[in-house]
Symmetry: C2
Subunit: 334 residues, 2 copies
């Protein structure tokens, strides 16, 4: 049985209020009693239980984290960063997975409220707009989505990616996204297009329409592939390598988000990393302010960072790298 306030009070012959005062540092208590109490608290290993406190103060010290898909390889780093930031602020984190389903998302929210979460950090399902939450909430989505509180500068990330490749001399790019409905991916692609010089051509493929043959694209003239996720960049990279296309000598590949594997493949994957600790810290900080009754802070946009690794290099200068390329040139259109 965990010791209660009452136990300590009885052992010391003081009242529970005094103990509470000592622990919270609020009411006036003599140094002597303070010392005595502190000692006893340490001795018995007393920790105020959350239930009583939550009931009395209305604050549970817990907030919810609602993710569309915990198993997405991007979220581990995110969840970790949030948990770390939350722990630093003395908060616990209740997780829920909406499985990309808006109904489940709503359900999860209700359950978190019921469990006493004081606020929530939510990464909304694609295409969902989080609105009128009965609870302070911090939304992490993309700069273009209404209600967003903090996110990476995906647009600038896209610009950085294209600029990087253009500086390496690439003039024929292939842009690969997964889903048009994802505002994050749209922002990234938008940024890429915005940075495009007039003498550079870019073709866009959406994987939801089917997977392209990356080797054929290279043989048709593409010299660089940018995927909106490292996962798809990895697919492209291994397809190319398996087909005998040298990376980065014959084609460069880059991705987004710096997944756990990106640094551990050969060649290392050049990628645009989100500053997860910064985003998480900002999210938790905003939430803490909201909980303290402050007005909603302005949305914060966190820069993305180019992580230069081996998968990108100078564009191939040979006008006819392989005979195969010439033969296939006319077959692939975009």
């Amino acid at each position: 049985m965990q010791p209660k306030l009452k136990d300590i009070a009885r052992e010391l012959g003081v009242s529970t209020a005094t103990i509470s005062n000592v622990l919270s540092g609020k009411g006036r208590v003599s140094d002597e009693t303070r010392r005595l109490v502190s000692e006893k608290v340490r001795e018995l290993g007393y920790r105020p239980g959350g239930a009583g406190r939550a009931l009395r103060t209305g604050r549970s010290g817990v907030f919810g984290l609602v993710l569309p898909d915990i198993s997405n390889p991007l979220f581990p780093a995110f969840a970790q960063a949030i948990e770390t930031a939350a722990a630093r602020s003395g908060y616990g984190v209740l997780i829920a997975d909406s499985h990309g389903d808006p109904a489940a998302q709503t359900d999860a929210l209700l359950r978190m409220i019921q469990r006493g979460a004081e606020g929530i950090v939510i990464v909304p399902c694609r295409g969902t707009q989080v609105r009128d939450l009965p609870l302070p909430a911090v939304v992490i989505d993309s700069a273009s989505s209404p209600g967003n509180s903090v996110c990476s500068d995906h647009h600038a990330g896209g610009r950085l990616a294209v600029t990087h490749l253009q500086e390496l001399g690439h003039r024929r790019l292939t842009l690969v996204g997964q889903s048009r409905r994802s505002s994050v991916q749209s922002d990234r692609i938008g940024g890429m297009l915005a940075a495009l010089r007039s003498d550079v051509r870019a073709d866009i493929f959406w994987l939801e329409d089917g997977a392209p043959d990356f080797a054929a694209l290279v043989h048709a003239g593409t010299t660089a592939i940018i995927a909106t996720s490292d996962l798809h960049a990895l697919t492209a990279l291994t397809c190319l390598q398996g087909a005998g296309v040298a990376v980065p000598e014959q084609a460069s590949v880059m991705g987004f988000d710096d997944h756990s594997f990106s640094a551990r493949i050969s060649p290392g994957l050049t990628t645009l990393a989100q500053n997860m600790p910064e985003i998480a810290a900002t999210a938790v900080e905003h939430l803490a302010e909201l909980l303290d009754g402050a007005p909603r802070p302005a949305a914060r946009i966190v820069p993305m960072a180019l992580r230069l690794r081996g998968s990108t290099g100078p564009a191939p200068t040979d006008p006819h790298p392989t005979p195969y390329q010439e033969a296939q040139q006319g077959d692939v259109t975009s």
Copy 2:
């Protein structure tokens, strides 16, 4: 303001206890009052708040999930499975990351207790023994670690891996682990060695000692590489592909855990998958039993499943696959 029991009671002119009885289905209530109450509850959208209930019943409906490293690519699937299983049983999940640090692990445990967690599911830090928890706990580690409650059959997984490759005709294997201290990895390697036929040779590399040159190993005669994690298998695979070694024609590669990327690379990575839903369901089930006062259930070992993909194939039959191989044969020892 969320409606409270008292609000409903007042509006209906009955007592709070009656409402509670209706909602819990316990005490005897007339059908008429029951109907009236149910209706009002729906109308006001009343949901019993967890704080009061937790204080009164001592059950918070929440348990803790303590992981050594949330950002490990294996845990997303795990956390998701646990969260799903927990939600199905009506539990919420509080997460904590011990960052592989035993002290932080203890700290996290204390915080979960303070927050009112009824029990915990813990994947202990490497080398840590979880013991004498002041709380019902389910430990997920490896069959060889004391106190383990449920885990995959890593040893059998190792045996399956080696058997698979032996059946494909491979006679020179390279086994790659990360850390000797990991009981999971030791079990896997142990299983591999146990399944080894007398005419098959296996060399073991531990990455904590430094990374091997996979292409050189193949040129020295290895025809198959088994890594204890898909992450390292991926490293091997891309190194080989980058060095012009065809997978699986010249060398087979396989891993463990079926990470998110494993099916999406080319060739697909043959791997041994853990049955996460099963493990998670068992863990939650055991925990629920413990919370109901049942004695500790016997440890459960869940089989691993071979996911056959393109990265493994028949051993190369050509005795002299490349001139280079002959030249290098003597240079690499193990």
